[in-house]
Subunit: 158 residues, 2 copies
DNA sequence: TATTGTTATACTCTATAACTATA
DNA sequence: TATAGTTATAGAGTATAACAATA
């Protein structure tokens, strides 16, 4: 990392990425790498990863939702969610209750322990993100957030 | 996608992700998913992916660089770069020349075909990104870009 | 000793088809 | 027939240890 930074910035072995820097995808991936790496180390003490954390938060905030709803909300395929929920269920952070109105579906609910872990992990993530965004003022954050949403809304327009 | 959008926006099966929306990582992943998905379909006709494209552009812009430099510039581990370069070399888009001053290292260089493909792919990516950013004005793009760089510079400060 | 590129390996995330049980 | 959850599988990205050749 430090080495990459050094080489990219200057020095005899300078690697020019000027052209790529003009691309949104490249800039965004580099920034996302940093955020994701930080998130990983932040969630590791809780035994969570980005996907298990996201699923847990959504279940805590939407108790009773179905797996298909959760998969759609998380932008992932249903089959891939199964192992994520298996993991959370095995750790007794959530339960899969049968939906009485539709016996095909499960109603996902957090356990007490799941709710507590979720709250603690969420605060830790927020604290870490505050550090990552320390140099970005509130106004800029709002602009970034608005841009993210506009990009997301462009999704279907291909 | 359309289904997720519908459920997230409103309706009887509305899934609330309000809490997660306050997290940079969540917003960024959603936006990056869109950008990455678009990039995939844009590069597919050229037989390239994000990583092979990025490596090719950096080699075209920095002919003669070493694999270790390229890996550092791409924020990835050296072993993972090997298969990426194998792919580009097998398609005769780049060559691995021996570095005369250090016989351990390779000097990576684009072939004529590699340079041509790179130029065409690059233009296609730029055009697609213009569409993705159609609703984001120039000033906001500059703010987003600056924020990305500030986040990247926070990396080592953990 | 340290470094370059490599192999091997393992884990995570992603994507698709096909199955079961219900509706 | 369609949907909810599941299984199986394959591709892609990521991370670490260990090796041969060279510095």
């Amino acid at each position: 990392m430090a080495k990459a930074k050094l080489q990219l910035d200057r020095g005899p072995d300078h690697v020019s990425d000027e052209a790529l820097r003009s691309l949104l995808g490249y800039e965004m991936k580099r920034a996302f790498n940093v955020v994701h790496h930080d998130l990983r180390s932040t969630l590791d003490p809780f035994g969570l990863r980005m996907l298990t954390f996201t699923a847990l938060v959504l279940i805590v905030d939407n108790p009773g939702l179905r797996q298909s709803q959760l998969a759609a909300a998380m932008d992932m395929e249903r089959p891939n969610l199964v192992v994520i929920l298996d993991e959370l269920e095995a750790r007794a952070l959530i339960v899969r209750d049968r939906d009485p109105t539709d016996r095909r579906a499960y109603a996902l609910k957090p356990t007490r322990a799941g709710g507590r872990l979720c709250a603690r992990a969420f605060e830790a993530v927020k604290a870490h993100e505050r550090r990552l965004l320390a140099d970005v003022d509130d106004e800029s954050r709002a602009v970034v957030s608005a841009a993210f949403r506009k990009i997301q809304s462009r999704e279907a327009k291909d």
